[in-house]
Chain length 298, copies 2
């Protein structure tokens, strides 16, 4: 085998990141049919189907290692080119850094880490949002370069650093707390009172109830997958829910909500996982994320 | 044909809403193998593959009309049962109302509509978030019962009502505005200045630039798919972006941001589309959504 064609690898990455052959073609300034030919050629070289042709397109099991390789090559190539050309060497093209972040980190401390990097017009952040227990999948699949994740074990080819814990408090509107939790968070009340959950991947409310009551409860659930809407739904009395400390403390101070389990919290330890790459952008982002997390997490 | 089996239809809905045979089994209190047998039996009755077996599971083209039918039957069945049994008739089971809402509506006015409905322990909201130009797909596919959408044409089987327009202003941090827009939002500046975009489906920034400059521009983009993180990224100077009026006016008043296109706004008309069903819950939700939107949109 003659090694892999870098244009074909770039095309694979574009198809998966943009979701279709048409969109990848627009990004690469070629026709969808050229995109299709490159993917087919790469699949013939490897002897495996690499792209699942659906909307959006996805990498197959066999395609994932190649997708990660494509991302790593692109980042290193850009930086080598920029170094070789020097500061006056003209446009080295854009460097896209893809990072997946859990919703509560993204809504609170994470943007400050992005803003710490010196503004460089060629640098584009491609932030994704996912549950902290699922962020490592996108890293393993090569869709992102780094992740804020609850997974402590290093994904293959990645380095991992602890960031501290995100602390959650159980909040409810005073009216909901009066109706359901006048006698505290008893198993009977917790099994019957409505709870606001971010989405189907979000297990922390149920985990918190299991820790508190020793039982697996099945309360009525409202799914509200938006941090501000989640928070407002709790304030408006739709259900109780676990709210990240920074937002919870503001709600408690304003009197919008009460803590229905005073003195009981849920701590979710978070980690920064990133590809083992000697990349300037990645090193700078790692330093910024660790510094901001140190100020924001426990 | 003997008509469709309602248990099989319910199982199809559970597989798609929960994403896997295992999770559907947990919801329905049966084994994954029982789920699989029911889906196969339904597929044999219809003579089509109905479920794409992947993670998460999805309905095929042929499965979608059946999915919608399953959702409609479930809603009507619950209400008929509750009516038949009367207010003391015991637990009629839970009614899940699935609604897709665009991110900016969800982060601003939509939760107040949910809170207007009288609290009923058997009612569960299953809110989804998607781009306003894509929300109608989930409605057509039968995944949701109603949508806040930018699509004005009624989806087949649905009723549509105008809700008013969400108004957006182009904001940037003062530092970013000084650096790039000292001479206003010229085509040269708009093509070079970094812009914050919600996700790949979000086209409004590019549409706004096209309207203003008459050109299709390709500025550097940061994707930040979280309303609070999007807003904070703009405040921190990562890029400019279009911010929903209610949030924008607070940012402008606080002096965190400046309007880089004073007097120019983007209005996105929104519509409430819902299945044509004589359902009490859906009627109550429609009245609440229309009332809150009338106060919040233009």
């Amino acid at each position: 085998m003659d090694g892999l064609d870098s244009t074909q690898l770039r095309t694979l990455a574009a198809v998966v990141s943009e979701g279709s052959f048409e969109a990848a073609g627009r990004l690469l300034h070629v026709t969808p049919s050229a995109v299709s030919q490159r993917i087919k050629a790469l699949e013939e070289t490897v002897g495996q189907v690499l792209v699942r042709r659906q909307r959006p397109c996805d990498a197959t099991e066999a395609g994932r290692p190649l997708l990660r390789l494509a991302g790593q090559l692109a980042l290193l190539e850009r930086e080598a080119l920029a170094d070789a050309r020097g500061p006056l060497g003209g446009d080295p093209g854009r460097t896209r850094v893809a990072v997946v972040v859990n919703a509560d980190s993204l809504a609170t401390w994470f943007p400050a880490a992005l803003a710490r990097l010196p503004a460089r017009p060629e640098l584009s952040f491609d932030i994704r949002q996912d549950d902290q227990d699922h962020t490592a999948e996108l890293l393993r699949d090569g869709v992102v370069t780094a992740a804020v994740t609850a997974q402590r074990e290093a994904v293959q080819g990645c380095r991992v650093r602890p960031l501290g814990a995100m602390r959650y408090r159980a909040l409810a509107a005073p009216s909901l707390a009066d109706r359901w939790f006048a006698d505290g968070l008893t198993p009977a009340a917790a099994g019957a009172a409505p709870v606001v959950v971010f989405d189907r991947k979000d297990q922390i409310q149920h985990r918190f109830l299991r820790t508190l009551t020793g039982r697996t409860l099945d309360p009525p659930v409202h799914y509200v997958p938006s941090v501000p809407a989640f928070n407002e739904s709790i304030q408006l009395g739709l259900g109780w829910g676990l709210v990240a400390e920074r937002i919870a403390d503001a709600d408690l101070a304003a009197g919008n909500c009460v803590d229905i389990a005073p003195g009981r919290v849920l701590d979710v330890p978070l980690y920064w996982q990133h590809w083992r790459l000697d990349s300037q952008v990645l090193n700078a982002l790692t330093a910024a994320v660790c510094a901001v997390a140190a100020d924001s997490l426990r």
